[in-house]
């Protein structure tokens, strides 16, 4: 008998947190570990993807887990035939998401290569044209999504419809609007992965080549050679900086510094140059305030455009700094010079043959990288922001029909249950009776809300079952930093008490005071010069990076947002520590070494 116990527990032995018993009813059957398939699921290694889903899912939020993972898979398996990798299988356990990459059987890899060369080759060969077309497609889709609206069913069908012989009622528009919103978001997720896997593959090829030339080169140095300086992801922050400068220039900065959003904007409006500033403020919002403080995957995400207090808060940070003569803009010129310097210094250390190969691979990596960075703005921030706004409208509308007591009630229903609610709403309206849902859902929503809350009380297990001998799936390594080292960190191997190991994600070393933040709502607590310690960061946190001394995250690899932004701002970052937010308390003195990937608790 094999006496070896797996390194991590089986999903089937994991208990629900107290008060969360029965959580399984929150999620569809296909997302759960089914006892009837125990042997298959126990034989696989699963890791918790808390980078993209750091909190327990509300039932509606399963939508983007479904769409994202299905669409990632389709490009590997069915569009491009990535030789060694199919998709990533997924499950929900205790509200958290677990992934298991699906490898292609070794004997089948060879046969996929010709198709991959043909299909992927076409994308690489026509990247810029295809990408320009991609932007058009996505913008058109966002416009379609934006045009969707939900309106209450009227007391009577419009008389013109009756007299015009339309022969239909207002429920069709309601169903269509909902179905269309779901369908558009599904298409948007397919577009999301149209280029992404290839972008990562080209980056990894460059990465692997540079590593073969310089085995000890820090990963972050390779990232620096490729990373752009004009990513759309930086634009929202840049816009705030411009608005801060303009406010100082026009002398409306004082008016902006106090009161609620409405009060501050009203005060600006009364100032002599106020209208000019307000016009600029309005202009910046479309599209740049379609920016979430999360990652777009949750119905709880707060987008700037719906919460103007968030960008105003950042503005209030920048204004005094701009007035004090500080350079608040990103030093793009210097960053580009630095990127060129780093690139040419490594290149100079190669022989001529290698230099030619380097040039080719770097060229492709730089061609694909804008997509890798920018898609995030178009999809997660902009498109999904519009989607969530529409869904909130619908939830409120149905709240008005007494389906639930709170305006976010709909998000405790699965998307297909919402379709049933719409039917209930339509049918009861037509029949002329009270809907059934108002007698069912308020209580059920409360029950589910309590379950999700109970699930959040317990952090997820980092992984399930036995890790494989080797981890080969490139996207797993690139995106989630799941390497053998990371697994050792989760099991506490190589943990020496006072220190934490993570990825050396952005260079430099500093000492400072920790500020542990578990949600973007706490960003206001951050003081200048503190070290940000958080499960995961989002691009929209960029303004706080101007304030902090370093960043430490539980989750994330070389290309996680915290890593990218820290490199941009010249701050040390250690990502993927696994347990930083559990081990570090606000106020502790830390040493963060972004060169070695270590965080030391000093006192």
């Amino acid at each position: 008998m094999d006496a070896k116990t797996p390194m991590f527990p089986s999903a089937f032995d994991v208990k629900a947190p107290k008060g969360a018993e029965g959580w399984e009813s929150l999620y569809p059957y296909y997302t759960r570990f089914q006892p009837s398939r125990r042997a298959e699921d126990d034989a696989k290694f699963w890791f918790c993807n808390s980078q993209h889903w750091p909190n327990p899912l509300r039932p509606f939020d399963v939508i983007f887990l479904d769409f994202a993972i299905k669409c990632l898979g389709q490009y590997n398996s069915r569009h491009l035939l990535v030789p060694p990798a199919n998709g990533i299988d997924y499950r929900i356990l205790n509200g958290f998401v677990y992934f298991s990459p699906v490898a292609v059987a070794p004997e089948n890899i060879e046969a996929r290569i010709p198709q991959f060369l043909d299909r992927a080759g076409h994308y690489f060969g026509n990247w810029n044209d295809l990408y320009a077309n991609w932007k058009k497609k996505v913008l058109a889709m966002i416009a379609e999504l934006d045009a969707i609206s939900f309106t209450d069913l009227p007391d009577v069908v419009p008389v013109e419809w009756v007299k015009g012989g339309v022969g239909l009622d207002n429920t069709n528009a309601l169903f269509e609007a909902y179905d269309k919103a779901i369908e558009l978001s599904y298409k948007i997720w397919q577009y999301h992965f149209e280029f992404l896997n290839l972008g990562y593959a080209a980056y990894l090829d460059f990465f692997g080549f540079v590593k073969s030339q310089f085995p000890t080169i820090p990963d972050q140095a390779i990232a620096k050679m490729v990373q752009g300086v004009d990513s759309e992801l930086f634009r929202p922050d840049d816009e705030i900086k411009k608005l801060a400068r303009l406010a100082v220039e026009l002398g409306v900065d004082g008016a902006l510094m106090s009161g609620t959003v409405d009060e501050a904007l009203a005060a600006v409006g009364k100032a002599p140059n106020g209208q000019k500033w307000l016009t600029a403020w309005k202009q910046a919002q479309d599209p740049w305030f379609n920016f979430t403080s999360g990652n777009g995957f949750y119905s709880t995400d707060k987008y700037w455009i719906d919460h103007l207090d968030i960008p105003l808060g950042y503005l209030r940070d920048y204004i005094p700094r701009a007035k004090a003569g500080e350079q608040i803009e990103r030093p793009t010129e210097r960053l580009l010079t630095e990127r060129d310097r780093i690139t040419s210094e490594y290149r100079d250390m190669m022989d001529e043959e290698a230099q030619a190969v380097f040039d080719g691979k770097l060229g492709l990596a730089r061609t694909v990288f804008p997509y890798v960075e920018d898609h995030n703005f178009y999809i997660e921030h902009w498109a999904l922001g519009v989607f969530w706004r529409k869904m909130r409208e619908l939830s409120k509308l149905l709240q008005g029909a007494d389906f639930w007591a709170e305006e976010d009630g709909m998000f405790f229903l699965h998307r297909n249950e919402v379709r049933d609610v719409l039917w209930d709403y339509a049918a009861s309206w037509a029949i002329g009776t009270p809907n059934v849902g108002s007698a069912v859902w308020p209580e059920e929503v409360s029950r589910r809300r309590a379950l999700v809350k109970a699930l959040a009380s317990q952090p997820p297990l980092p992984a399930l079952n036995e890790p494989p001998e080797v981890i080969t799936e490139p996207f797993t390594i690139m995106l989630w930093g799941i390497t053998s080292d990371a697994i050792d960190r989760w099991t506490g191997k190589g943990d020496d008490g006072a220190g934490l190991k993570g990825m050396a994600a952005a260079p430099g070393a500093v000492e400072g005071i920790a500020r542990v933040l578990r949600s973007p709502d706490q960003l206001g607590e951050l003081q200048k010069g503190e070290i940000l310690v958080t499960p995961v960061t989002a691009p929209s946190w960029a303004p706080v990076f101007g304030k902090i001394a370093a960043a430490v995250t539980d989750i994330g690899g070389m290309m996680s947002h915290a890593a990218i932004v820290c490199r941009e701002y010249g701050l040390p970052a250690v990502t993927g520590t696994g347990t930083a937010t559990a081990k570090i308390k606000t106020g502790m003195r830390l040493r963060v070494d972004g060169n070695t990937g270590t965080v030391t608790i000093l006192e």
């Binding site: 060694p84 085995p215 691979k361």
Partner: protein, 354 residues
């Protein structure tokens, strides 16, 4: 004053390299490239030759060595010792002595200096032999300087050097010696930096050994120094090992020499350079590698008397020899390019062994 017998570091030109020796030539080059180097001057090989001529030493040296069996170490030793005594006992030619005294006086009254031999290219190619030639630290006063210059000359005739030349049929008289006289650094910490990892030849790394006091303790291996690895392009410290540095060599102005002393307990196990200083030392090595177009092995010191930011001094820079020669031997690789490269990467490159 002419430049015949002594030559200020700032005046050493390419044409002078043969008559100032490797060490002084490198100091001259660094000085003129704007690298911070303690000021000083070279006593040229012309001075050495003038000394030989003045006392007709050439004939005397040849007489001592005539018929010596290079494999009989006693014979060699006796002859070498006799020559060293002869060189030390002669007064310098007045013109040479005046030149040295004048050059020394220009450095400031009673300036403590280091007097180091600077072998010429014709000398022993074996790098480790350089250490056989003498270095005198914390020398003070013109009389002492003159005497140490003479001692350096005499060090050309150590038993080992003589035996080596005899065996390799290098005419003794052709081998010349220059001497460097350099302002003494009041070293708070010092050491060696290589612009390549000496362990594996990794050219993306700069490796620093550093300890308290003068660098001789590091070079001779008496202390286990602090060891730092700096990434050459990002210029970030990627590794550090802080050691127990139990002794240091410091100047004793009264005795006019460098003395070894115990490092007090509270300083022994702490990092002897600030992180900024580590990076500055690495930057110095990187700069010298660029100037010389090959990996360098550099001796450096942090001067306790100079303000921070200007306190790092280069004492010597020479080409790294081991890995620079090996490099050509690395086997040719073939690389997959374009999309085949990507297929290769997807299939294998990121396999991570547990």
């Amino acid at each position: 004053m002419t430049d015949l017998f002594t030559l200020d570091f700032s005046r050493i030109s390419q044409a002078d390299f043969a008559r100032v020796g490797g060490k002084c030539a490198s100091l001259g080059e660094m000085t003129q490239a704007g690298v911070a180097v303690p000021p000083g001057f070279a006593v040229t090989t012309d001075a050495y030759q003038a000394m030989l001529a003045h006392h007709d030493m050439r004939a005397e040296i040849e007489r001592h060595l005539a018929g010596v069996d290079p494999f009989d170490i006693d014979q060699v030793d006796r002859a070498a010792q006799a020559i060293r005594i002869r060189i030390r006992s002669h007064k310098l030619p007045p013109a040479v002595e005046t030149a040295i005294r004048t050059a020394y006086a220009q450095m400031g009254a009673d300036m403590p200096v280091a007097v180091r031999s600077s072998a010429t290219a014709e000398d022993l190619p074996d790098a480790s032999f350089a250490g056989q030639q003498d270095t005198y630290l914390w020398v003070r006063g013109a009389d002492q300087v003159v005497e140490k210059v003479r001692d350096c000359w005499a060090s050309l005739y150590t038993t080992r050097a003589v035996a080596y030349r005899e065996k390799n049929r290098i005419p003794h008289i052709d081998v010349l010696m220059s001497v460097g006289v350099q302002k003494m650094v009041n070293a708070r910490a010092a050491g060696v930096v290589m612009s390549i990892d000496p362990v594996n030849g990794d050219q993306t790394k700069i490796v620093i050994d550093a300890s308290w006091g003068l660098g001789e303790m590091v070079v001779s291996g008496v202390v286990t120094p602090d060891n730092f690895t700096v990434e050459k392009v990002l210029m970030e410290i990627t590794n550090r090992k802080i050691s127990d540095k139990h002794v240091e060599l410091v100047g004793d102005a009264v005795r006019g020499e460098a003395v070894e002393r115990e490092v007090p307990e509270d300083r022994r196990r702490i990092q002897c350079l600030s992180d900024a200083e580590v990076v500055a030392v690495a930057a110095l090595a990187k700069r010298l590698e660029r100037q010389n177009k090959c990996p360098q092995d550099v001796e450096w010191a942090i001067d306790a008397d100079l303000p921070e930011g200007e306190n790092l001094l280069a004492l010597q820079s020479r080409p790294e020899t081991i890995w620079s020669q090996k490099k050509a031997e690395t086997p040719k690789k073939t690389y997959a390019t374009g999309i085949m490269g990507i297929v290769g990467t997807l299939n294998s490159a990121l396999t991570v062994k547990r």
